[in-house]
């Protein structure tokens, strides 16, 4: 809704979406880019465009599932590595029992004291049967993992 408020709200359809509301949803899902809304690039909406860019900035580095890992606040404790149900299923003799991952199928691994996400397509928030999983967010005491 916040994104929608900053759009021109003229339902001009230049972007290819039928309404500005639909364009806002597409922006949030990173299917569309701000530059596709040509009216906002013009002078009158300069301030709104800047606000919109600032609003969408946190999702800029997000993975396909919308996951962002903030390396500056991650302590590398590895709670997410062990708690992630995909890691447990894919590496029952490594990550599942608290040890170092033994294969490349895991999503999380700790490199140089910070968590790095890979194999993101394995994440339960991705694909056809996606679920709203919080298994990596809940055990993180510093809030270094978030989804946008």
């Amino acid at each position: 809704m916040e994104i929608y408020q900053l759009l021109p709200k003229t339902n001009c359809k230049i972007c290819g979406e039928s309404t500005c509301m639909a364009f806002a949803v597409a922006l949030l899902g990173r299917k569309k880019n701000i530059s596709e809304c040509t009216p906002i690039l013009e002078g009158d909406f300069k301030k709104q465009k800047e606000k919109l860019e600032a609003l969408l900035l946190p999702s800029a580095g997000a993975e396909e599932t919308g996951m962002i890992v903030h390396p500056e606040i991650c302590t590398g404790c590895g709670n997410c590595v062990v708690a992630c149900p995909v890691d447990v299923a894919n590496d029952p003799k490594g990550a599942a029992i608290g040890c170092a991952p033994t294969n490349d199928k895991v999503i999380f691994r700790v490199v140089d004291g910070k968590v790095v996400a890979s194999n993101i397509k394995e994440c339960r928030r991705f694909g056809k049967n996606r679920v709203l999983c919080y298994a990596c967010i809940d055990p993180c005491p510093t809030g270094a993992i978030e989804f946008v």
Binding site: G78, N79, A83, A96, G98, V110, V111, G113, P139
Partner: protein
């Protein structure tokens, strides 16, 4: 696979990528461990009276200072290998010196009681495989030993705890503040007042005996019922608990008697503090605060804090520790008036005021050895890269030779 000397968990599943004898990348080590493995930013240089020197002359000068001192003290040892600690104890014997480590203002009291077998304890592997109720008492494991919860205690699946933290384990935090560990314990966080541990234990003993506790009855009865149902419980006793009940330690023994399925484990910070306690205990029957004065004398006067307060020492050898950064300013002032010898791989606050500084290899990275994990298991340290610096054990041997 390498062993991480970052904290007393001594994680032995670390992968290290080395390029041109430099550590390029670490895998699986937490931030604290990764920083430790990557080594010092400022390497210590051999110096005598702040003037550059070489290691040989610095060792000779150190031997001269210790040999001429009337009341020398050897302190530190928490970040040294067991081999160096044994050499340190031999040196103290030879000098008739006082020897103490950081445990005298840390977990020494608890470890002493453990080595005297006053409590039941267990290993971290047993915690992973069996424990269902985990109590973090006065301890912020999440920050002090970052991989404690993920590697051993709360999150992993174990032999008898196949469903891990989701269903099979309950984590409880008892602390004066909502620490990062308490955040993970969510519904089971019990906030107490500073120094309120004694009152809390007494109320818990009442509740476990079937009485209505005088202090927060609803919460205490709820906790007591969780503890009673535990099949294999562990109390991770942190420094907060140890400090708070140090004058009346028997109440923790009384609590342990009330909950027979529970084990107590000291939460140790420095990687080999328990190692020093065990080595000195084997030698003297005490874990710290000892003076070799013909015979073994154990007294509170021989702790670093009291020795500095009473100004009873005239020379101090510091190995594997940085007392200047961890002790109160009013006490460390005395360090400026005595001769200090610092053996450390990196520049520390103590090394900056030391009369003699002797650099050594980073143990667990540039030299191997053994260390004792927080649960008492002996872990082999690995040598990851080559270094020209002598190990602290070698330096202490040379120092003994020079005496």
């Amino acid at each position: 696979m390498a062993t991480c000397p970052g904290c007393a968990l001594l994680c032995d599943d670390i992968e290290v990528i080395v390029e041109n004898n430099r550590i390029k990348e670490t895998k699986n080590a937490c931030r604290r461990g990764a920083a430790r493995i990557k080594g010092c930013i400022n390497r210590l240089e051999p110096k005598i009276a702040q003037k550059p020197s070489d290691i040989e002359s610095a060792v000779r000068k150190a031997a001269e200072i210790l040999g001429n001192a009337k009341s020398p003290m050897l302190f530190g040892w928490s970040n040294s290998t067991c081999e160096a600690q044994v050499k340190g104890i031999q040196l103290a014997k030879k000098l008739g010196a006082i020897i103490d480590d950081t445990s005298s203002f840390c977990q020494g009291l608890l470890i002493e009681k453990l080595l005297q077998k006053k409590f039941r304890t267990c290993t971290l592997e047993e915690v992973r495989n069996k424990a269902d109720v985990l109590v973090y008492w006065g301890s912020d494991a999440q920050d002090s030993e970052p991989r404690h919860l993920s590697r051993f205690s709360y999150f992993p699946r174990g032999e008898s705890r196949q469903r891990g933290y989701e269903e099979d384990r309950i984590a409880i935090a008892i602390d004066v503040r909502e620490s990062n560990t308490a955040k993970i314990c969510k519904g089971h966080f019990y906030r107490i007042q500073p120094k309120g541990d004694r009152e809390f234990i007494l109320a818990l003993i009442d509740a476990l005996s079937g009485k209505v506790p005088a202090y927060e009855p609803k919460k205490i009865l709820e906790l007591a019922s969780i503890l009673k149902k535990a099949e294999y419980g562990v109390i991770f006793a942190g420094i907060g608990l140890t400090y708070s009940i140090k004058d009346d330690f028997d109440i923790l023994v009384a609590l342990a008697d009330k909950i027979p399925n529970f084990h107590i484990m000291p939460m140790v910070g420095h990687y080999n503090m328990r190692g020093f306690n065990e080595n000195l205990f084997k030698e003297t029957g005490f874990v710290n605060r000892v003076k070799f004065d013909g015979k073994v004398v154990h007294d509170n006067r021989y702790s670093i804090v009291e020795a500095l307060r009473e100004k009873s020492i005239d020379a101090l050898l510091v190995a594997g520790s940085d007392p200047l950064s961890s002790l109160p300013r009013s006490l460390v002032r005395h360090l400026a008036s005595i001769r200090v010898i610092c053996i450390d791989p990196c520049v520390t606050m103590t090394s900056k005021i030391a009369t003699v500084t002797i650099p050594c290899a980073v143990s667990g990275v540039e030299s191997g050895g053994t260390a004792v994990r927080m649960d008492g298991k002996i872990i082999e340290l690995s040598k990851i890269i080559e270094s020209d610096y002598p190990t602290d054990e070698e330096l202490l041997s040379r120092l003994m030779g020079a005496l």
